[in-house]
């Protein structure tokens, strides 16, 4: 991870905007922002995160690479698409935010303690392993994210919901052992690997 960051720094000295345009999904839209602030005003999470999309875009143009990539903002996006709908310049803001998050994660610069980042990783590992999401493992993984004691407490608090799901036949306790998986697990994994390779090449991640 560190090496990839070094490589990016060397390639785009002082031009973070170009780095974003070339390497971040939908990043070529960032230059089209006209700083009206409608996205910042539309975001339901507005008061709760460090930088609004408007500020993120301004910071990209100002070359504030570390601050942008280590910001928690992109991780807080709930994909409600309010900003995308309202942006007068029709920027795909939600996609850009996710693109930035992914890029920061790949460079190893994403905020380590951010819970949504942790959840995203859990989800990705969970579903790419077998090709299907194992909900029981995902929920338990989430409960025990912050340690054993916290996990037990959370599971205890949710016990009635869990029992309810069990009674209604919506939760299979044997999933904990193996769980269902897709027919061609190896095929899925090969496909994902190939996709990774293509993206690395296209965005110039490889050395």
């Amino acid at each position: 991870m560190g090496a990839m960051n070094e490589q990016a720094l060397a390639k785009y000295t002082n031009n973070f905007l170009r780095e974003v345009e070339e390497r971040v999904e939908e990043g070529e839209w960032v230059k089209m922002c006209m700083q009206c602030g409608v996205c910042a005003g539309s975001c339901p999470f507005g008061p709760d995160w460090e930088h609004s999309p408007q500020k993120i875009f301004m910071m990209i143009r100002a070359g504030k690479r570390d601050e942008v990539l280590s910001s928690d903002s992109m991780w807080m996006c709930t994909s409600c698409y309010n900003c995308v709908v309202r942006c007068p310049r029709e920027l795909p803001i939600t996609q850009i935010m996710h693109g930035l998050a992914t890029y920061a994660q790949r460079l190893g610069l994403a905020p380590k303690m951010n819970p949504t980042r942790k959840f995203s990783l859990l989800f990705w590992d969970n579903c790419t392993r077998t090709g299907r999401v194992n909900e029981l493992k995902l929920a338990l993984g989430l409960y025990f994210m912050d340690g054993l004691v916290a996990g037990i407490k959370k599971a205890w608090a949710m016990r009635n919901t869990g029992l309810g799901l069990l009674m209604a036949g919506r939760l299979n306790p044997f999933e904990i052992l193996k769980g269902h998986e897709c027919k061609d697990k190896a095929g899925i994994q090969r496909m994902l690997k190939k996709a990774y390779e293509i993206e690395e090449k296209r965005r110039g991640f490889a050395k």
């Binding site: 905007l17 230059k31 089209m32 006209m34 700083q35 408007q54 500020k55 301004m58 910071m59 143009r61 100002a62 310049r89």
Partner: protein, 739 residues
Amino acid sequence: MADLKYAAYVCSGCGIGERIDAAQTAKIAEKEGKIALVRQHPFLCSSDGVALIRKDIGEGATHVAIAACSRRAKTEAFHFPSVALARANLREGVIWARPDTDEARETTQEMADDYVRMACAELKKMKLPAGNPEVGRSTRILVVGGGISGLTAAVEARKTGYEVVLVEKQAQLGGWAAKLWKRVPDREPHAAPVDTGVRELIDAVTKDAGVKVYTNATLAQTSGAPGRFNATIAIESGASVNEEIGAIVQATGFSLYDMNRLPELGAGKSPNVVDQAGLEKLAREAEASGQPICRPSDGGEVKSVVFVQCAGQRDESGKHLPYCSGYCCNTSIKQAMYFKDANPAVDTVVVYTDLRVPGNGEDFYRSAQHKGVVFTKGKVASVEPDGNACTVNFRDLILDEDARIEGADLVVLATGQVANAGVDIENADATDANGAKPISILNLNYRQGKDLPKLSHGFADSHFICFPYETRRTGIYAAGPVRRPMDIAQAMEDATGAVLKAIQAAENSQLGRSAHPRSGDLSFPMVRLDGCTQCKRCTVECPFGAIDEDEKTYPVFNESRCRRCGTCMGACPVRVISFENYSVDTVGAQIKAVDIPDEFSEKPRILVLACENDAYPALDMAAMQGNHYSAFVRVIPVRCLGSVNTIWITDALNGGYDGVMMMGCKHGDDYQCHFVKGSALATERMSKVDETLKTMSLETERVATYEVAITDLKRLPQLIEDYAKVIDKIGMSPMKGFA
């Protein structure tokens, strides 16, 4: 006064007949108004009714009073140009302004009776206007200034078939536009700078025999009036030529705000800091040499350019221009494209506080963003040149922190436009925003001064809110950046509009008619000089500089320069100025014609003098919308509140009126007065009326002045109701019964 035949017509249509006793009003016209021929009609504006009036006119009626709807309604049906016409407003002014109730019936009827008395009395004092005998002779258009505005004005005048005389101070035509490499695009897809087109305009003007071009020439003197201006043009050889002119378009443009007044932005400290004109020069030099634009200090390659918006503009400190020039954001976008289109690797940053891109600038802005021009919202604090590079320090307004751009090869300052509007006629010592002492452009021989009056920030006169091309000098129209900051597209539109107004003024003068806003009016001010006391009030107060003075300081009226507002008539202390159909007598007679009930009747009478441009139509429209008001008011429309002579006020109060309301337009910096200064002058005059009231032992509340807008449909009836309450409180006038 032979063959004067008076006729009056009372209409009972539109509900008038149901609400008032039309037969009674007709009888009043006959007995009290002393009108020989009085007719009633159930539908007067019908072809039948109009034919009836026409027949009477054919049989010799010369003065006609129509008691029907407002004078603003049915003007086409009741268009009888061969007779003097008075209108009694029974519909909007009476029945629609009053509730339809039994208790209101009596006072509503009294209102109608009075309006008929007033119309009859007015008619007796009216004459049919004959038109200004001193008609114009020329319809040629003089265009002052040969920049893009002047050239456009000339071309548009030629398209309409009028001859043009064009005077340009410089040796070449084209002005600023000729100094540009390219211009902001004026048509789809608004994506890249385009050719200025100024070459074609110059060709069109110089190859046209109908345009007489004087370059290296100035106006030594301008005299006369619309239709007969005499322009003395000082030409290159030192000689002068005279041209007879119908109307004038002043398109003298702007000077760039001097960037040397901005040392904090690096101006003068490094050749790499230029203004927008400086960059155009570099771009033209680059094109001539076939090289990219290079750094002036050492001819080095330009890798990074910073554009500083609002340089010395929108300044709140009072040191620089306080206004936005409106064109500079688009210009900086265009200039950034000069670099990006040639080499996308050049960094171009525009530092702006608010990007203002009028016209189709939004598309142009978007195109620049696509091309990679970076836009940073910030306010530049300083530019520090160091060798071949500059550092730009600014406050980032989004991130709210101090920031800097280092290593800029070129810094372009977007300074604004300073009008070339000639001398300040109100302050001979005034300097312009660049600290220069202006010289006169028009050299008018008017007593009111050599140039157009200035409106604000040194820009030439313009009736900004309603009639942008109109100045306070009739027949002289300001176009382009001389009247407000603007870009090429706006200037071309402006010039087209102004030249059409100029043509109208020239044509109206040929027919002895007034120019805007009483366009086509045949009446004109007449003065009885044997009663004049040479007090000069008319010459001083005329908002349009229409009145000169002769060697004995008697007023000399230039009727073609007059707009017929009647401000001179209102100013005249000896009342020797009048119009044939509007005079101290026509209004005075109406005031005296109203029947004043005695002190114990509990029926006060309030005189309303309402500006016919805004207040009177607002009253009409208020009534149309069913906003009722007191039956105690008697409304008389006046051409402008400036035409109100104080004798009307004293006559009214002496005659037993309980109060006088005067309704004029908004005055001050953002005035709405059609005649610019009329309502302000009236307010000034009425501020002195308190003394008169005291000598009459009357309360000062008995005269009140209001600023009214045409949209005050709810407020106006309320003002009347409130004033009626004031009168109720201070009591009836003690002056009743003496007149």
